[in-house]
Symmetry: C2
C-alpha cells in the first residue's frame, strides 16, 4: 500500500470552533504532485446498543440541526479528553438514557467518514441494564424510547432508523 | 418531536474550502436559550456494492489522509451538482473500478454523522458487471481488489473492513 501514501508537507488550522477544528494540509501525492487536504480533527466517540433485562432496545430521539430532523439513534457521545472508551460508553449510556449497565462489550471500531475527518466510533453492546436516572448534558434535549428487537429490525429495513453508526451498531450486535 | 426542535436564527460561513464548507449558525434551543451549531454542508454521496458475474465483490483500497491509513472500501463518491444519485452510482463504479453495471438497485440512504454534517450517502447494489476500463479522477490513487463473499464477511468481523458506509452497504446488501 506504500504506493498509495500521501506524504505530509505542512498543516494549517483554518477554523477553530467550539465543536469543529478544521485543518488544511499540503501533501505530496503518489505521483509527486502537491495537493491540499481539508479535514476535521475529532476526539473520537462511542455508541452503545443498550439491551434491557426484557430483551428490548433503548434508543434516543434527538434533533440533528445539520439535517433539520430528529433521528432515532443508539446512545452515543464524544470522548472527553483522555477518557477511556469503555468508561465513556458507560457514562453516555447513563447520562442519555438513565440506564446503568453492569458491563459492556466492545463490538467494533468504525471510521464514519474518513474522507474528511479522523472520527472513529467505538461500538458497544450493554446488557443487564438497571434503571437509574437520566441526566443529559445541559442543553441536550432527547427522548428515550424502548423498542422490541423485531421493531428495530423493521425500522432499519424501512429507513426509520437511518443514522449510520446506529444501524451498524444494531446490525453488528446481532440483536 | 416538536419539543426537540432547534429554531434557526442566523447563519454564517466560517470556512469556505475546496472540499469543506463550514457554517456556524445561531439557534434557539427548546428551552428558549441560544446556542451555536457548527456543521459542514455536503452535497451528498453514493456508495455501491459491486457483485461480479462470479458472485465476488469488488472493493477499492484508498489512502485516507485524515486517518493516515489506506482503507478497503466499496466504490463511492460525491454527487456532482444536480446529479441524480443513480447516475452517480453507475459513474463512480465505472470510474473507480472499471466495471460497468447493467442496472443498480438502491438499498438505503444513511446519515453518516448528523451531529456535524448533513451528508447523506445513498447505498446501492450493482450486479451482472462487465469489465471496461477504470479511469479514476486525476490525482485519485486506488487499488481495485476482488474478494469472495466469505472473505468479505471475515474482514467485516475481524475489523479489516472498518469504513462505516462500506460495512453498512455490504451488510444491508445481504451478500
Amino acid at each position: 500500500m506504500s504506493h498509495l501514501i500521501e506524504k505530509f508537507l505542512t498543516s494549517k488550522v483554518v477554523f477553530e470552533g467550539n465543536l469543529l477544528n478544521v485543518f488544511s494540509d499540503k501533501v505530496e501525492l503518489p505521483n509527486g504532485k502537491e495537493a491540499s487536504r481539508e479535514y476535521i480533527k475529532h476526539p473520537g466517540a462511542v455508541a452503545v446498543v443498550p439491551v434491557t433485562q426484557e430483551g428490548n432496545i433503548v434508543l434516543v430521539r434527538q434533533y440533528r440541526y445539520p439535517i433539520g430532523k430528529a433521528l432515532l439513534e443508539v446512545p452515543a457521545g464524544k470522548l472527553d479528553k483522555g477518557e477511556d472508551p469503555d468508561t465513556c460508553a458507560l457514562r453516555e449510556l447513563e447520562e442519555e438514557t438513565g440506564y446503568v449497565a453492569e458491563h459492556i462489550k466492545k463490538i467494533a471500531s468504525i471510521y464514519t467518514t474518513p474522507g474528511f475527518t479522523n472520527e472513529v466510533i467505538h461500538l458497544y453492546i450493554a446488557e443487564n441494564l438497571t434503571l437509574s436516572n437520566p441526566h443529559p448534558d445541559e442543553d441536550e434535549f432527547l427522548d428515550v424510547e424502548v423498542y422490541s428487537k423485531e421493531e428495530i429490525k423493521t425500522m432499519i429495513a424501512d429507513g426509520r432508523i437511518n443514522d449510520a453508526k446506529s444501524m451498524l451498531a444494531l446490525l453488528l450486535a446481532k440483536i
